[in-house]
């Protein structure tokens, strides 16, 4: 699988069933959130796929236990490790699509979210039938304050997230909460963070996000791209890097640079999004990626808006100046 050849493009012929991936460390409150989603009056029939029995049971007629079988595709690329059990189970469940209209996947507390997410991009059947809606990570405020520095699982779960539910926030002081929030922000500047005491967040804050739709990439919030003065202090850890450069990019240079970057650093890059002005194109080119998997398409014309390029990375060992330099060299 290579960066440029992988098509994440949706099949438009039928409506796809959205999937939310729920991650979080043991005891963070995933099951509480899951039960909250299931009992809410949202009119959706939700199928739940879980890998472990939580401390609280889930009451739903469609709960399926999965085995969390992580498969490496035969080409040996670790960025193409997928959840084989999900391909099998979801492929089978999608035979009767009218039975449910939303899928929640709860991962084990120690899971790296990468393989779950990649599953929806490397299998053509999954791609055709399902759409990844978003990754929701439940963080135990008290536990994370103490363990964020020695648990790479928590850090990765935060790095992959579209939404972070900062749960049990009543159990820590305001200062601790603020420090934790700052730390989360330095890892993943783009996730929406919701405070909760008993996983009590509005349902529409966690499902129906369409976080992987390319249109959503256009909704970059101003300010997110500004350089974080602390970036340089966290070189060895997981950080977010946002770059904005005005002007037009050369298509060939960009492809060559991104291709090389993803080949060399794909393992360290958890997520990536961008809105680009390609020389000779009227439309904004939007893209996003997970590790080496990459999807992009033209959206909405620039019109009167000044043409400019925004690119964000969330990953490990990101070198801001190197990234910026490489990106700048792609200018037409």
């Amino acid at each position: 699988m290579t960066a440029t050849e992988t098509q994440l493009a949706p099949d438009q012929t039928q409506t796809k069933i959205p999937i939310t991936v729920l991650t979080g460390y043991l005891g963070a409150g995933k099951t509480t959130l899951l039960n909250r989603i299931l009992t809410e009056q949202h009119g959706k029939r939700i199928a739940v796929i879980e890998n472990e029995f939580g401390e609280i049971g889930i009451d739903n007629e469609l709960v399926i236990d999965a085995d969390e079988e992580i498969f490496e595709m035969n080409n040996g690329c670790i960025c193409c490790t997928v959840r084989g059990d999900l391909i099998r189970i979801l492929g089978s469940l999608m035979r009767s699509r009218d039975r449910f209209d939303y899928i929640l996947i709860e991962t084990t507390g120690l899971a790296d979210p990468g393989p779950v997410i990649q599953t929806f991009f490397v299998d053509d059947e999954m791609q055709a039938l399902l759409s990844l809606d978003g990754i929701v990570t439940v963080v135990d405020a008290a536990h994370a304050s103490l363990h964020l520095d020695d648990s790479h699982e928590i850090v990765e779960q935060i790095a992959f997230a579209d939404v972070i539910v900062l749960n049990k926030s009543d159990l820590v002081s305001a200062e601790q909460l603020e420090a934790l929030q700052g730390r989360i922000h330095s890892i993943n500047r783009f996730a929406k963070v919701h405070h909760a005491t008993n996983a009590d967040v509005p349902i529409d804050a966690v499902i129906g996000l369409e976080a992987f739709s390319l249109e959503r990439v256009l909704e970059f919030e101003p300010g997110l791209l500004e350089e974080d003065p602390e970036d340089h202090e966290h070189d060895e850890t997981v950080t977010s890097v946002g770059i904005e450069i005005p002007g037009d990019l050369d298509d060939d240079k960009l492809n060559a640079w991104l291709g090389k970057l993803l080949q060399e650093k794909g393992l360290d890059i958890f997520r990536m999004k961008g809105v680009l002005a390609i020389a000779g194109s009227e439309d904004r080119y939007v893209f996003q990626g997970v590790h080496m998997l990459f999807d992009g398409q033209p959206e909405r014309p620039w019109g009167e808006t000044p043409r400019s390029n925004q690119l964000v990375f969330i990953g490990r060992n990101l070198n801001r100046s190197e990234l910026e330099e490489g990106f700048r060299a792609c200018l037409a």
């Binding site: 079988e69 498969f71 595709m73 084989g84 391909i87 099998r88 089978s92 035979r95 299998d123």
Partner: protein
């Protein structure tokens, strides 16, 4: 693109039924008078040639597999973790039973339950089970002589001895196996894979061969009764590998049978004549004679995306099931 060959083989609809749910699996009665079906809504039933459908078992949550013993009993398995043998239920556990298969002599049933393979006698009295394999069994097939059963998983195929349910051989392969098939003489085992490849094992010479270049994952495999052809899906074309070349398919280009306009989803050779039937997601059923021509020699249509098709034991009928719950019985006599 091929023309319709003049030596046409015909398919005429004998009967059709609206069963209302995805047809997961089909199996013919030994006399070829009825076909059994497993539906995604949990129903296991039989359809006779007059069009009368009769429910014989239920698997709450979904029926996944059905097989009819040449010695008589009908077996099924489903998401409820149970099998039925002639309507009597046996619980294997909480994992899905995704496959059931009678030994060629009909005297032993193999059932894939999660990571274990179970063997049951037709009376449902004695049962043996294999050790836990490292991953879920995605497919199984009996060796034609019935001593061994092959189970495909991520990481390879295991040959499991029927007499004591012991794993006697591990054909290690790095990747996820979706379907496997023994040649009729039992000397070769082929498996279709998640990563768009087909792998062969020559079991007597311990040689292996890998075929790449499929458009998508390969779940459709069928050996011709003559042993010459292995027909494979994995895209819009039916790709046939020729084993009668002196060196086998190694280094050869396969014969590509192209006429489907959507993904091929089901394949089987007619057991008596070697006529190949293929079905696709757009509901096309096509017949081929790869020995003679790459042209289509016959065909018909089903009312929905084809999920599975099966020839009757004497080849006189073809049953075609669809993803939207129809079952058509075709008369295929000359």
């Amino acid at each position: 693109m091929s023309r319709l060959a003049t030596t046409a083989a015909s398919l005429t609809v004998q009967t059709a039924a609206e069963l209302g749910s995805h047809v997961s699996s089909l199996a013919w009665a030994p006399d070829g008078e009825k076909v059994a079906y497993a539906l995604d809504d949990g129903t296991v039933g039989t359809l006779d040639q007059t069009g009368a459908a009769r429910t014989v078992a239920e698997h709450p949550g979904g029926a996944l597999a059905v097989d009819w013993s040449p010695a008589g009993p009908l077996a099924s398995g489903g998401r409820d973790g149970t099998i039925t043998i002639n309507g009597t239920r046996h619980t294997l556990g909480s994992a899905w039973v995704e496959r059931v298969a009678w030994r060629p002599d009909g005297k032993l049933l193999a059932a894939a339950h999660g990571r274990t393979l179970h063997f049951w006698d037709p009376e449902g009295i004695s049962a043996k089970q294999s050790e836990d394999l490292p991953a879920t069994i995605s497919c199984l097939q009996w060796h034609p002589r019935g001593v061994l059963c092959a189970a495909g998983t991520y990481g390879g195929a295991r040959l499991i001895r029927a007499s004591d349910a012991k794993v006697t051989d591990h054909l290690e392969w790095k990747g996820s196996i979706l379907e496997l098939a023994f040649s009729f003489d039992g000397k070769r085992l082929a498996h279709g894979n998640q990563d768009a490849s087909v792998h062969f094992w020559d079991l007597s010479k311990r040689k292996e061969l890998e075929m790449w270049g499929y458009a998508t994952k390969v779940r459709e495999l069928a050996w011709s009764p003559s042993g010459r052809w292995l027909a494979t899906g994995g895209g819009h074309a039916v790709t046939c590998w020729d084993f009668h070349r002196r060196r086998g398919p190694a280094g050869s280009k396969p014969v590509e049978l192209e006429h489907h306009t959507d993904r091929v989803t089901a394949l089987q050779f007619r057991p008596d004549t070697g006529l190949l039937a293929s079905g696709s997601r757009d509901g096309m059923v096509l017949l081929w004679k790869p020995d003679n021509t790459t042209d289509v020699v016959g065909g018909s249509a089903a009312p929905g995306p084809i999920s599975t098709l099966r020839w009757s034991p004497n080849g006189a009928r073809l049953a075609v099931g669809t993803a939207d719950g129809t079952l058509t019985m075709f008369d295929a006599a000359r």
